[in-house]
Assembly symmetry: C2
DNA sequence: CATATTATACCAACCAGTCGGTATAATAAT
DNA sequence: ATTATTATACCGACTGGTTGGTATAATATG
């Protein structure tokens, strides 16, 4: 019956989870392979059995992070909302609520890696750009639907509005890390929501 | 007459400039004291003559960065604009123009340090929070003036609008580092400007 | 048996920081 | 004015520890 992983997760998954947690908090460079192994209760030999380098682990952690975020979004309740504009507004409300949850890390691996590694790790920079683009695309498709439905008088560049939404989130995370005041999420995302409403 | 430092800058200034440049590009952790010394053409002995630790250098570089940015803002032409609302709009235009200049680094030491060090270096985190607060205060005072002058119908939380402006800038920098497309500044700051106009 | 997983031992390079010392110049004492 | 004292700027070797990474072997697992 208990054929696979009954006591604990596989070594690879464990390493990825620890790496993600540490890198969300301290970034890529300040997170050492040794510390990851320690906290994953595995040896360095195991680490380099699963990942051929720290950078490969970084890429895997980044992909895993984005995949989980995307899954969480797609399966969230607000996605069932029929009206596309309300769906965008609900996305913002969903984020406001999510950031109120103390168990949700106030950090984004894509933003962290983009800031820290864009000049030194070109492949990771590219991955960040791709994930940002994919994220923006999913927002853009709702905005396009809303545009078709509500035909606003002013011309709308939905792509750049989606990018803007991401920038507000990433910037708010940075501000939060300095101030450590959770209210910044509600306030900033509130402004963003008002803006989206104002242009439709 | 020429009593002091006519040929080259003092060692301390040189170290600070190199540190700022490297940390703007690669962050704090990935920038080693050795590399700073190499590029500043000074020995490690000299480094620790001027700074008692790497963290103290980080603080000094952070303060210096903010001071320069603030000076640049205060002396900019748009500050002479009499109308407070136009002054805020001109600030945004000023930033759009500034980011078009290839010589201006597309990076903010306050944002970088906040993201990278907030969990590990509490004193630096505090410094970031203070600088963000000071920056926001300068924006808020213009917004307050505009509020008094134009008496908008909707109630305005000028403090949170100022924070929002900073978040948009910081988030846009992160997006830029991934995408490396300079147009993101004009687009995102354009949305911000529209929002500010819409609420007055 | 063979393959996947884990551990141990090790490495060279690099890390922040220390140390003892020198060269120079400003200041004080004679 | 000359000498003694002190402070500043700087150097480069060195330390203990950490870094990412490797080589090899033990242990599971199928």
């Amino acid at each position: 019956m208990k054929t696979k992983t009954q006591k604990t997760q596989s070594g690879k998954v464990q390493l990825l989870e620890v790496a993600q947690r540490l890198m969300l908090a301290k970034g890529y460079t300040a997170t050492s392979v040794d510390e990851i192994c320690q906290q994953a209760d595995l040896s360095k030999g195991s680490f380099f059995h699963y990942f051929e380098s720290k950078e490969e682990l970084g890429k895997a952690a980044l992909d895993g992070f984005y995949f989980r975020q995307k899954e969480g979004m797609l399966q969230a309740e607000f996605r069932k909302e029929a009206d596309p504009l309300k769906r965008v507004e609900s996305l913002i409300d969903f984020l406001i609520q999510a950031f109120k949850n103390p168990d949700i890390p106030k950090s984004c691996l894509i933003g962290n890696f983009s800031q820290e590694l864009s000049e030194t790790h070109p492949e990771i920079r590219k991955l960040c750009a791709d994930h940002f683009a994919d994220w923006a695309e999913s927002v853009k498709s709702d905005l396009d639907e809303a545009k078709t439905k509500y035909k606003p008088h002013t011309p709308l560049d939905t792509q750049s509005i989606a990018d803007y939404l991401i920038a507000v989130i990433e910037g708010t995370l940075i501000l939060y890390k300095a101030k450590k005041d959770i209210k910044i999420f509600e306030k900033n995302l509130g402004h963003l929501k008002l803006y989206v409403q104002s242009i439709f």
